[in-house]
Amino acid sequence: MATADRLKAARADQKPAAGETQSAPPIAASGVALIFEESSPGRRGVDSGGGADSAKHALELLGDDLCRTDIEGFPELSEPQVLRHFLRLSQLNFGQALQFYPLGSCTMKYNPVLNDEMAALPGFASLHPATPPHLAPGALELIARMEAALAEITGMDAVSLAPAAGAQGELAGLLMIRAWEEKRGKVRRKVIIPDTAHGTNPASCTLAGFEVVVARSGPRGYLEAAEIRRLLSDDVAALMVTNPNTLGMFEPEIQEIAAALHERGAMLYLDGANMNALLGVAKPGDMGADIVHLNLHKTFSTPHGGGGPGAGPVAVKRHLEPFLPHPRIVKRADQWEFDRDRPDSIGRLRSFHGNFGMLVRAYTYILAMGGDGLAQASRHAILNAAYVRKRLEAHFPSATREPTMHECVLTHDLDTRTGVSTLDLAKRLLDFGMHPPTIYFPLVVHGALMIEPTETESLETLESFIETMERIYAEALEDPAMVKAAPHSLKLRRIDEVTAARRPVLRWNAR
């Protein structure tokens, strides 16, 4: 691009933001151009040792046939430009460290800074996965301690830290059920899943080759043992259930359900995404769970990172231990090693040893909290959710009258009264510097607002959220159009997601 064009492109995306008063003219851009648009031929962000000579030599070594001559459209920027680009991009995000982020089912708790520093220690960060175990005893020891800690926390017998996220933990669990059954000679084809379940549960079932049978929640918002008994058959391999469920309710009949399942030779898979309610309160193992997965990026304070990386350890009862995925470590002659001799294992879910960097963070957190601290965490998480539920009940009643735990699902009548939807409420919250709750989930609640404040948020923050919700309710009655047009205070107005899907533009193209 010629300089002038480049300059134009770089500014193309700049948007005049309004001044505070009507009389003030639009002011300059806050939008950040795409990295490709900030690029200029010949600009360098690194000084590489070899340089152009090296490149020529390599082409000779490999031969023209194998080689491309350019990476068309690839960015060309200086280091300061790259840094500025991404720092400015970062300023367009909300994050838990900066904003209240009560996203239900996501456990946006504080991520201690120390976690990241520990993961960055050269002894962990620079450790190649193929390092012989006797040269990495610290890493294997950490894995062993982490497995033991999660077993203790969940009341299960064995833990695999391999899965990269909750959904992969689900897959691992379901494949173990299948492998166990195959080992016994026959495979049941069905898995029961409640209608309130998170979408990954049915998706994982399909991936694992199971057919989903939907269980209806009872009128009081929980799963009744009767419903499970109704659905049980010799073709049902398991029930997959989140506890507390996605309404935030502890499943009161979970033990009865477990018994019913076991009686019919089926297993109980517990989705542990809501484990932040259960630390030191009730152990999945004690409920009768055969399998539970955890999301370290929820309960154990590893960062969400705008969508990962996370880690989704899976914990099982003794009978499933042989089926756990690779890798497994064993202690031999006082030394941890990888166990290659596991004929019943479901195999690998991914390369190497799991998201080790996330394990370091979560282990750091567990040491910091301790057994006592974890138990306190759940109790305070429950207190926060109960408080929000209670204080908001006038205009945002709970979807259930039963006690709830670390989150609450609220509903409202604004859509029928004023045409203001849950989405509008959510967008208006952004104007007040708060991230909205999870909305329209679980599917069974009309216009659901699923609020999970977490234990690391202060009473003052909750109060300010409550006050804001009340205020928006009042605004919706007074000036519904304004609320429907929210957000008003951000660099961008409401974003058109429909067009994005209708005419997908999924990459930048050089003009």
Binding site: D13, A58, L62, A164, G305, P309, G347, H353, F356, D496
Partner: protein
Amino acid sequence: MRFIPHTEADIEVMLKTVGAAQLDDLIAHVPQNLRDTAVINLPDGRAEAEVADELTQLAARNPGATGFISFLGGGYYRHYVPAAVRAITARAEFATSYTPYQPEVSQGTTQAIFEFQTLITQLTALDVANASMYDGASAAAEAILMAHRVLPKRHVVAISRALWPDYRATIRTYLSALGTLELVDLPFDLATGEIDRAALDGLATGELLCTVTGYPNAFGVIEPLAQIVELTHRAGALAIAVTAEPLALALLKPPGALGVDIAVGEGQSFGMPLQFGGPGLGFLAGRSAQVRQMPGRLVGQTTDSEGHRAFCLTLATREQHIRRERATSNICTNHSLCALAATAYLSLMGRQGLRELAARNVELAHATRAALEAAGVRRRFTGQCFNEFVVALDAPEAALAAAERQGILAGISLANDYPELGGNLLISVTEMNTPVEIERLCGVLAGGR
């Protein structure tokens, strides 16, 4: 409780509001027997300094991390990570945000992913890339599932044996439960280290769903991808290329340009530390026509209500939130922050820098291979290599042990995974290896050959 802000007074106020006398009243509805056994028997919480000390000691007990000259590769590669990458991923706004479900307050994440998708399409010369997968191995498995959605009537999956063992194992796991797909191993040519094209020819029937080829492969060999694609396409099947060392794509003909339908791989080389193998970054790219069969998230360009450019998650109908059991994948949380690291890394390296770095890897690896040959250490395969190659040793275990005594991790023995390559060692050479290190490697392997 430094992470929990509640004071005694706060708790009192709050309990009063909710009508409870004490904290445990709030969990009174949880069955008594469960509560009775719920105590977590772990040591009490500790001060930050003590925790830091404990972890620092554990980290120090990994001499393999920093105390050795290393030639380990095999799917994870030692590359320099510029400090700016760390400064960017450390930003709390990036690190502590959730999946960008509210695009108005997630333009940082969504735009960065859009840039990531573009970079991957540029590197692979394909039309569309997704927002990330867990890693290269699971991305390879998902690519096969995607191929199956495109060609649902076919069922033979031909997988190169020269694909990394972890990748093949992962694919087996992912496909095991479906029961509908038949996995067939494609043997490699013992001389070249490339896929045995005759064997592939034999599989090229109307049942063939896809071929899965490492590019470069697990021996570091640059497969003749164009020919493999041709054979695959001749059978009407889809060609999947899998790259664990994506730096190679800066220099090699891109998969898309050679006709590959789906390119996947591991992005760890692009700005992620080794971290004992994770988190890394899976990437997956394909053709526009098949975008609705793609797994994983996608970010698209759109506008806000005033017409300004904006970015948001899109085509979510493929995902479990919408289609639940009919989703294209169960992946939800992916590896977004790693994709950000890769985006920052690639932006810093840039159009010239990345190619020069790739070239430097080629130069060093080829020089090492030549020096080893000069010292009498036989190269195992004739196939061309990028930054990794296999040598044949008489007593590889002894050689590895000798090297270790001299402070060198000389490579990865292939004996475990490839019995027919018992005496063979996979050696990876990157820009992190100095000429002196290479010399020392030659010395020890020539001695122990």
